[in-house]
């Protein structure tokens, strides 16, 4: 797992197993996320990427293994307790409250941050990040376009001042222009000090913005290393980048 030894980890996953009934979705996944920067998780459909994020955020229960966040074991903690530790999961499909306004959705994100005095500053920052949300702040979240909803999902997550932001397929279903916009924002968040664990089918863009990456295949980590190395690796190019 070159390059990360010696650095204190923000998130450390060891030998994680998750099953859905008889289907073994994760079979002994281990990975680490440093306190800053972007870690990408790539792999084919059904490789277990979303399951891994769900297991970290407590939405699905791990059968075996450990998820350590700032040295604290998360396996077995309820979902809301994990969110309160400012480990924020933006799921695929974004998890908006469609019948509440943009502003209300953002405010909800701030509930996990505890300190209500900062909420106004956080809101300002979210609007600076996504000016379109400011224009539409009184609109119902359900009336936003797909790209705007994704921005709202990320903006809401940022309201919690996350220590670790986990994004599941943020580019899914978006027009190319919006995909580029999202991939402009993610490194910006990381640059401001938020660690990001990024799950993407768009492997090329994910590898281009990440420092480190893992390749998941049928519930196992089959490859990991600096993102630039994976981008150049022939097996990655063949399987995930459609070149080579």
């Amino acid at each position: 797992m070159g390059g990360l030894e010696g650095t204190p980890h923000l998130l450390e996953i060891r030998d994680l197993h998750v099953s859905y009934g008889r289907i073994r979705a994760l079979q002994g996944v281990s990975l680490t996320v440093p306190p800053a920067g972007i870690v990408a998780l790539i792999g084919a459909n059904g490789a277990g990427k979303s399951t891994l994020l769900r297991a970290i955020s407590g939405v699905v229960r791990a059968r075996q293994g450990s998820v350590s966040f700032l040295g604290e074991e998360l396996v077995g903690l309820p979902v809301h307790q994990i969110a309160r530790r400012r480990l924020i999961h933006v799921p695929e499909g974004r998890g908006m409250l469609a019948r509440m306004t943009v502003l209300e959705n953002l405010r909800l994100g701030g509930l996990a941050a505890r300190d209500r005095r900062d909420a106004a500053a956080d809101l300002k920052r979210a609007f600076a990040l996504f000016p379109a949300l400011h224009t539409r702040r009184s609109q119902l979240a359900g009336s936003l376009s797909g790209g705007e909803q994704q921005m709202l999902a990320i903006g809401r997550a940022m309201m919690a001042r996350p220590r670790l932001l986990m994004l599941d397929e943020p580019s899914l279903g978006l027009a190319p222009l919006l995909v580029r916009e999202i991939f402009r924002i993610i490194p910006q968040l990381a640059g401001e000090g938020t660690a990001v664990l990024l799950v993407e089918q768009n492997a090329r863009m994910a590898l281009q913005c990440a420092a480190h990456a893992y390749v998941l295949q049928t519930g196992r980590v089959v490859l990991s290393g600096p993102a630039a190395d994976l981008l150049a690796a022939p097996e990655v190019q063949r399987a995930y980048l459609g070149t080579g």
């Binding site: 955020s57 309820p78 979902v79 809301h80 969110a83 998890g95 909800l108 996990a112």
Partner: protein, 297 residues
């Protein structure tokens, strides 16, 4: 009284009753929104709330405000206990068993009330003057105006709570999507408890106000039966819809009682709202203000 004035009198009288119906209906709707649970015992909660206030006034010798505060504290305690001891252990069971439990609890409350409150006054005597006020030639009971005003103030406070406070925002998130609520760090159990605490407060206020306005007319637990047409017309999950429907049902009952009851010999006003309810269910099963997909789980 001329015809127009009589009609206006009926409408005003019905609207005043509607304000109190709205409080009871809101006690029902907050629970439904938070947990999709149908509380068939809402009338009994109101009855116990009003009797607790009456008992507190008698035993402690406090005035109206002291009695209400004491009763609110006691009813919040009872509601939290009910949530913790009865509902929470059943939370993994089907909604149907929870609903059956509320019916059982309602029957238990009726039985227990006769024992616990034996020898105590049934209601607080209204502190408002008995002589009606004459507004624009219409006689309006001061009791009813005061009760409706307090009910309206409570509704306004509740509306601020749901839309202007962090806790209210969290409660609305719990009501719209529990998974999302968890994901933003909201503790569901804590917010179910807050919901039941609200039920405790609303029970005391609605019960006491109703005992002022009705002069201890019909059994207060029957107030629960008034609530079902209201919440179904209101669409079950819409707070503004519930309030509008409460006024509509109050006015409907009053007008029917004024014009039709004398013809059929009385009692039709109690049925009228149910007839409207049935008609509504044929045309708009999701209520006048609800949304068609209200039953999604």
């Amino acid at each position: 009284m001329p015809d127009g004035a009589f009609f206006a009198f009926l409408v005003v009288d019905g609207a005043l009753a509607g304000a109190i119906y709205a409080l009871v209906a809101l006690a029902f709707v907050v629970v439904y929104k938070a947990s999709r649970m149908i509380n068939f015992a809402v009338g009994e909660w109101t009855m116990v709330g009003s009797r607790t206030a009456a008992a507190a006034g008698q035993v402690l010798g406090t005035g109206l405000a002291g009695a209400l505060v004491t009763a609110c504290v006691a009813m919040i305690g009872l509601a939290l206990l009910f949530n913790r001891v009865v509902l929470r252990p059943l939370s993994q069971r089907s909604l149907l068993s929870l609903i059956m439990v509320t019916i059982g609890v309602g029957i238990f409350m009726r039985g227990a009330a006769t024992v616990v409150f034996a020898g105590l006054p049934v209601r607080i005597v209204s502190p408002f003057p008995a002589d009606p006020l004459v507004v624009g030639g219409l006689p309006v009971a001061v009791d009813k105006i005061a009760a409706a005003a307090i009910a309206a103030a409570t509704i306004a406070a509740l509306s601020w709570f749901f839309h202007g406070s962090r806790t209210g925002l969290a409660l609305r998130a719990v009501a719209s999507d529990q998974q999302v609520a968890l994901a933003v760090g909201i503790d569901l159990q804590r917010h179910f408890a807050i919901t039941w605490a609200l039920v405790g407060v609303l029970s005391v206020l609605a019960g006491t106000l109703w005992s002022f306005a009705s002069g201890g007319g019909f059994g207060i637990e029957l107030l629960g039966f008034k609530v079902f047409p209201i919440v179904i017309l209101g669409g079950l999950d819409s707070l503004p819809g519930t309030i509008i429907a409460a006024f509509a049902v109050g006015i409907l009952e009053s007008v029917v009682a004024g014009y039709i009851d004398p013809i059929v010999g009385g009692g039709f006003s109690h049925v009228a709202s149910y007839l409207v309810l049935i008609a509504t269910l044929f045309v708009r099963p999701w209520g006048l203000f609800g949304r068609p997909d209200v039953e999604r789980v």
